[in-house]
Symmetry: C5
């Protein structure tokens, strides 16, 4: 466990001593706990010294949780998640806050929290809301923002995949499609509960300690971003379905082209081969009658040319010539 305490504008690595002092005081502090080792010390601290409800502490010790907000006597508990394309688990933050302080729990390096530390002093939300709410808002904001570049890259990948498939459909693309669908679902599971959570916070239907009308505007802004993210995720899912359909249709189309080539080849050479076979028979009559030189040019070459000409006309009438050749 690594504890970082932010109080009175200062941020420093805190010992247990510092934490207890801060807790004993009446001033606002933000304690950030890195539970990277998952050694149970975070749970112990939160239970024994902070006295949080065992259900909330238990939840904070497990990661990969569904975003949610729970209101307990005297404190609120929120799980919030950002984009985590490499599934490092570093984009999940659990927040506890009371009237006087905030505690955040995360695992490993979490760039969003560093970003919060930089912005918390000078953010305008500080004018209308208590510092706990500002920290909570900034944490959610940083995590929500992290989805935008990921989804934007996703958008480009869908287009690239569609172009790839139209250029040359392969089986590897099907694996990619499946992976993309899966990761889209992962994002959906992080985004939609947060959207509903922000809706209920900004409409004040969930009661949150330290919430003000002024702060509600900021959460409404987050809500708006989350609606957009959820809409995008749904669009992408739909588009992935279309890409899958495109793959199947393209493969079928290419099969058509190959089969048409095969049909043309067979239609040309099967009759021609039959003709040569015909004149290769050992009937004496045939051997006798095809003796003169002109028979070779008229019958041997002639019938072949006539056959080719007839086939050419047939293909022309069916539009088999000049089509795509790949």
């Amino acid at each position: 466990m690594k504890a970082t305490l932010t109080q009175g504008g200062q941020t420093f690595e805190a010992t247990n001593r510092d934490i207890l002092d801060a807790l004993a005081g009446k001033n606002f502090f933000w304690l950030d706990l890195d539970d990277g080792e998952a050694d149970g010390m975070v749970g112990e601290l939160l239970t024994n010294h902070f006295g949080f409800h065992p259900l909330a502490v238990q939840a904070a010790e497990r990661f990969s949780q569904r975003p949610r907000i729970d209101d307990y006597d005297g404190f609120s508990y929120m799980v919030t998640r950002g984009a985590d394309p490499e599934r490092t688990g570093q984009a999940e933050v659990h927040c506890f806050w009371t009237d006087t302080y905030v505690v955040t729990v995360h695992r490993g390096e979490c760039p969003a929290l560093q970003h919060v530390r930089e912005r918390m002093g000078r953010h305008r939300a500080a004018e209308v809301a208590s510092p706990q709410i500002v920290v909570v808002y900034l944490v959610v904001d940083a995590l929500v923002e992290s989805f935008f570049p990921v989804l934007s890259e996703f958008d480009d990948r869908i287009d690239a995949l569609e172009d790839d498939i139209l250029a040359a459909p392969t089986e590897a693309q099907l694996g990619v499609l499946f992976e993309m669908k899966r990761s889209l679902m992962e994002m959906r599971k992080a985004i939609t509960p947060q959207r509903d959570m922000m809706a209920s916070i900004s409409s004040r239907s969930t009661d949150v300690p330290g919430m003000t009308d002024g702060a509600a505007h900021y959460f409404r802004d987050l809500y708006d971003h989350l609606i957009r993210l959820a809409d995008q995720v749904d669009s992408y899912r739909d588009l992935l379905g279309s890409v899958m359909d495109t793959h199947l249709s393209t493969v079928s189309n290419r099969l058509n082209v190959v089969m048409k080539q095969l049909a043309i080849i067979a239609t040309v050479f099967l009759p021609l081969s039959w003709l040569t076979g015909f004149f290769g028979q050992n009937f004496s009559f045939l051997v006798t009658h095809i003796a003169p030189a002109w028979t070779f040019f008229v019958v041997g070459i002639g019938t072949e040319l006539v056959a080719v000409a007839l086939l050419f006309m047939l293909f022309k009438r069916r539009g088999w010539l000049g089509g795509p050749t790949v």
Copy 2:
């Protein structure tokens, strides 16, 4: 930044001076800001002189926003969008309005706003609503109307694509289908939030400064148009799915036709070639016995004719003759 001020029936390009004068007065004015250069001056003006909430100003500086309405102390902020098939971004207008004035922000040439200027003086809504609401209504109305021709053209394109596919399915059509699905989704994202927004405005569940019962009828009319648009978008999406299915079925069907041709050719010429091969064998017995002339006509030609006749009967029984040939 290019500012256009409309006050007392006059419209003119405004300097900062003019804007501050208008702001100082108590008369209604409509200030239209073209933020084509996105140089931050619009944000500065809105923050420092108009005193709008930083969240709203921030939102107005970013484009490609989701349509929405936010109610702040003393002013309302609305993002509204029209059809933008070429993605120029010229069909997005952000409106701020208070009890006395309206400010609109857009980027580049926006034909909808010009249309508003022409209609605002003589529109009948002016009899029942404050001038701010009239301007806002006309802006939304002009943007909403812009969807109809686009969707109507879309309708024609779907029909044309279906006909094209039934005539001759190609891979290029799959790319077109994907593009159409994508642009339909873009439109959906602009239409449905506006529909919900108009529903809440016309039913008065969102409180908007300057709103009257008389004006609500006009917003209800917009709501009705937007429901129709959303219904159409959903129908088109469904139809695009059918077009995709038609493509696959048509391709499969054509494959059937090609394969039937191939099967017929092979079924005719493989047995015939075998027959000629048979009589081309070097067995002395065979060579000896097929010496007389009649053997050629009876055995050589005869077996071939019998084979052709049998095959013809077989094809007839299977219905392989007279089918489509493309």
Copy 3:
């Protein structure tokens, strides 16, 4: 513009004079306007003499509207639609009604309205509701009833199409499927808004002038019919999807059959042809050793028969014999 006035049990073609007289009186009348020429006279009359709200008059001048009901000061405006399989536009009626009269606007021959005239005098709803409501009810009733035979025919067409496809899948069927899906969507757009409209009227949540508890039963009955229609439309849409899937599966299945034939033919004649080719080689050894007559019967005919027998066994084991042949 053709005006038909119904008052005091009499129905006659009305001049402008008659209309103004009726309007000046205090007795109930039903004015039916045929706006077949769309010459603007209807709009003028409704605006200047009846004084309806410009938004409602504007809407009544445009056809192909989404069914809806709008409540204005002193009058109600309703757009209602029936089945219109040939898209003649003759199944759309716009109704305006106040405490004393009803005005209906339509285009061209509208059989539903004739039906209303015949029933309005003797319908039992007249006992419990004001005459305006009776006319409105009968108009909607006649239009709603018009959907039933159309949907019932649709049902038969789906079954017929499925049977056709199972008998012989063609590309023309795909075009028919697309057309059917499209017309189903058109019907859906006319049915679902009316269903919701009737729900709100019958539950009295939309306030309608002249409405009574007794009349609400009649609108509830309409609501029930419209739910059934909407359910049917949804079922048919689902079934059309199944029909499309059937088409694809049938085409694929037939391809299988054709390919199996081709494979059988090739598997029979390619080995046989190789055998004849083998004995057609010019190796002197071969020529010498196949000189005796028995060689022809034993080796020439024998190998071929053995090959045929082996192939027959192979086919038998793979179940390739006796399958479908179309």
Copy 4:
């Protein structure tokens, strides 16, 4: 019309006289009318002697109605349906009930009603509810129960169909699938409205004469059964979609197998045939040089063996050997 009257524990075929007597008295009776002939007498009786609302009577004279409950002055009218796999129409019962009696209308033999007669005297619901409600409850209960065996058989049929398709996909299965989807939709139309109806009755949001808290438990039980039925119908619909997909995939898979066989045959015999053709050419050089006996064994047989060996290695590397052969 056949009338069956149940009163005071006795059930007998009733004349018009009996019905009027029962109606004149104040004791509870249950009149069951079999409108098998649809001769209008039922309508006449219900209108003239029972005085029910014309809309309700009209509805009771038409069958194939959507289940629903309508509350009129002084009586309630309910349409309820059971499973009717053979579309005999015998599982539809219309109930009218007032404070003192129940009238049920059905067509033909209705086993559910016989079942009600047997249970009504000794059912425990009689302790907590008026006899009308008991009859209505038992009628709905009997009809709802009739769905369970039908759906259970449906479940088995889906599994059997899936197994059949995996064993050997045929076109007949596509027709069966379509029929199953259709009959599932029919059931859905009977089940979901009844589910919603029972929900509103058991939660007391629909006011029903003679309803008690004790009886509500029984209707809640029906509601629970109907939810389960509706869930099952939805599952089956989904599974039928999967079965359809299985059909297409299986057909495609079998095509693959057939084509692989064809490809193997062609890949073996086309090169071999070319070799024999090569040595069958009439070039004197060739004829001269292949005169010695060893040439036949080394070149004639040898090249063929080498070709077969090479092809065998090629197939081995591609995994074309040992796959499925059907």
Copy 5:
């Protein structure tokens, strides 16, 4: 019937005598009934001695019930289910509870109940809720937890199946897919009703005897788990659809590869065979002119080489070389 009584910290197999004693006392007890033999004794006991409502008792005697909670006078009845991948029916527990005791009914070995016995004494929920609620909570908790490992294994199976299909699509996989879809639906039917049940219990909208605010937190926690489970089930269903699509696309793709091989073989050997056939004709002119040795090398070998070179160039241009070979 096997009865296990838990009272005053002791758990023992109970005789009927013990049960009646416990019932006569005023102390809390938990009676667990194993209705493995389904011999009707459980129903008799619950009806005669506990006096539960016949509907509830009837329900408790049938298994495979939909999870639900019913509130009766004086007691609550709840059906709750856990994961039951092998359909043993051992993960279904029916609970009855009043102000003083809990009765659970199950069939066969139920590991969840053993787990409850171990935890009930020392669980922290005991501090805030009555013992009945603690038992009910622990039962549901144990059953809900049982879904997580099953779904997690399901997740792995989907991935494995997708990988399998991409490696080599077979028909057996289609059967597996169908089975997985089916078992997913079974789980869905157990999970979603419990989710809704926990929502209404934790929000206190369903009134449950012995419920406290403190206990509601525990049920909210269950609710949260159930939402996550329901989300997962929906994701998996969607992914199974993608896997099915992958199967079809992979099969089609492989067909393409096979057909390309066939087309290449045919395109190479049909022209070559024709050439050899051409020079195998018995035209005297031909036989005479191809007598010199050089004709064999130039014309016989030469034309073949030229043909092969031309075909190689053709294939190269079409990109037919170097593609996938499986």
